[in-house]
Symmetry: C2
Amino acid sequence: MNISRKPTRVIAVGGLAIGGGHPIAVQSMTNTRTDDVAATVAQIHRLEAAGCELIRVAVPDQASARAIAGIRAGIHIPLIADIHFDYRLAIAALEHGAQGIRINPGNIGGAKKLTAVVAAAKAHQAPIRVGVNSGSIEAGLLQKYGYPSPECPDALIESALNNVRLVEEAGWDEIKISIKSPDVLTTVSAYRRLAAVTDYPLHLGVTEAGGLIAGTVKSSVALGLLLSDGIGDTFRISLTRDPVEEIRVAWELLRALKIRERGPELISCPTCGRTGIDLFALAEAVERHIQTMRRPLKVAVMGCPVNGPGEAKEADIGLAGGHGTGIIFKKSQVVRRLPEERLLPEFLAELDRIEREV
Amino acid sequence: MNISRKPTRVIAVGGLAIGGGHPIAVQSMTNTRTDDVAATVAQIHRLEAAGCELIRVAVPDQASARAIAGIRAGIHIPLIADIHFDYRLAIAALEHGAQGIRINPGNIGGAKKLTAVVAAAKAHQAPIRVGVNSGSIEAGLLQKYGYPSPECPDALIESALNNVRLVEEAGWDEIKISIKSPDVLTTVSAYRRLAAVTDYPLHLGVTEAGGLIAGTVKSSVALGLLLSDGIGDTFRISLTRDPVEEIRVAWELLRALKIRERGPELISCPTCGRTGIDLFALAEAVERHIQTMRRPLKVAVMGCPVNGPGEAKEADIGLAGGHGTGIIFKKSQVVRRLPEERLLPEFLAELDRIEREV
């Protein structure tokens, strides 16, 4: 299970290099009104704290384009403007400081307008994401190939490549590509084929993936398959939720694949008829607590005092609840035995000590 | 992306056939006290309603073993007893009606006791799951191979195969195998190697996967990779949560891979600066509503009235909210335009009509 990353070119969004072996970048998108600078900056700060490395904002009107200058001044990560329908918004966003733009070639109004956008992007040294969605592919390609499916995702790929060519012909090659579908297998098959025919960096994602559970499952399956193939240079988990949850899922995914790591990992048992305490409450309290920690660490919360330390051998530190008494263990050695009511506070204090040791 | 399922033998747990091309069975485990028959039966009823097809209960003592008869009388799916440490509990569970048992060979007390358990299983025609966990592998194997890792998961595999041989030698071959680790890549590499050397049906899972998000990501990545390799005949998603959530995740996973389908799928956008309504509340209300529906259906909840029906072309039915007014669409055609306050109730009523048409 060694992941060998597919070589891609390098582009830079603001100070962040993407592609060519650079760390796979975690990104999200705000859902505040972009023209509400204070709200947007506040949301981006929460996203930064969770580990977001690149942020996209929707630019549906000129007021939003103008707001970009103020947003950029308040945040610490590169900002990308997301444009649909009106190419003038792309140009305005760039003029107000967008460090990259995402356009959906299927709805930007044709080759001529795209060319005008590219000229502005080049003038501002801003990379362009050619972001094709299965829902907005050009009619001619749908006629030629049919709606994208796992067996024939070609309309997505040809749409992306055609539009990439237009950007190149306008003299700009700071490009990344995404071809998103709400369907997991279509996503996987489309990116696999695309990766075989381009060396531009790829932005991965499943679009309209759904709520927390469905969206997390769909994104994890699709991106798990692609990232373990070595495909993907940046990605967004798309959830109908607070975007901070998207970042949490993103980092869990990178950790699961041993690609990148950030903060502690929680190992916790599902409880069963042997569990004598309210483990869900304990696990949630520990999970909340470790979200503020940066140090990679394996933290276990186990229901069963007999089995716990043994089953959670891989944990750096853990607790196991019992009947009236609990234990704290480190590397499967019991280090303390405590009355149950003191177990959680002492455990959290111990975690804080470890974090301070960094 | 065609999944070609690895051929395995068929075993039967109660009336449920597992392996050999039979549908990949969704299972979970109760976390009530098993000796509390009423609570356990009530939880299993909730799990059955969510789509659980096989249920496991912990049997930590003789009272739990005795409770199995009462539990079985109240439920509609096959019941498996989960045994650790005391082989007599396995025998008692079988005597009280367990239709299968799961034993962890590493802690059942050696070959002689295992043989006694096998004799009882054979007498009751109950399959045995040889369920090895990385946390409880025999010391000798750990010495020989080291702790299971993605590069060398061999201790898991050899432990499983040794114990399978003991079951076979005791004259019983109704066997399935699991080799679980909390580590995603170890899980994937272990099952891939195991699948290459055995044709017994395999039970998949990531153990101690963690809470809702981490556990869903880890399980989706590991099982997404394995199931798309054609490996796995039944599985459990293990979450530190209400087990009903495990079943939801399980079905989302099967749906994402187009292996099996159950009830409607929600397609919903993540919202952005273009969204003019409280889409999260709408999406959650729709998600809750469709959980009671059985008919497979693609349901879209989109924030953007201009883009919505187009981006959700794949949806059978959808709504898109706007500013003060919303639309209901079917197959990307707008069929109704409504004031926003009537959008949700009318949409749910429409879903109910569709469900009744079945």
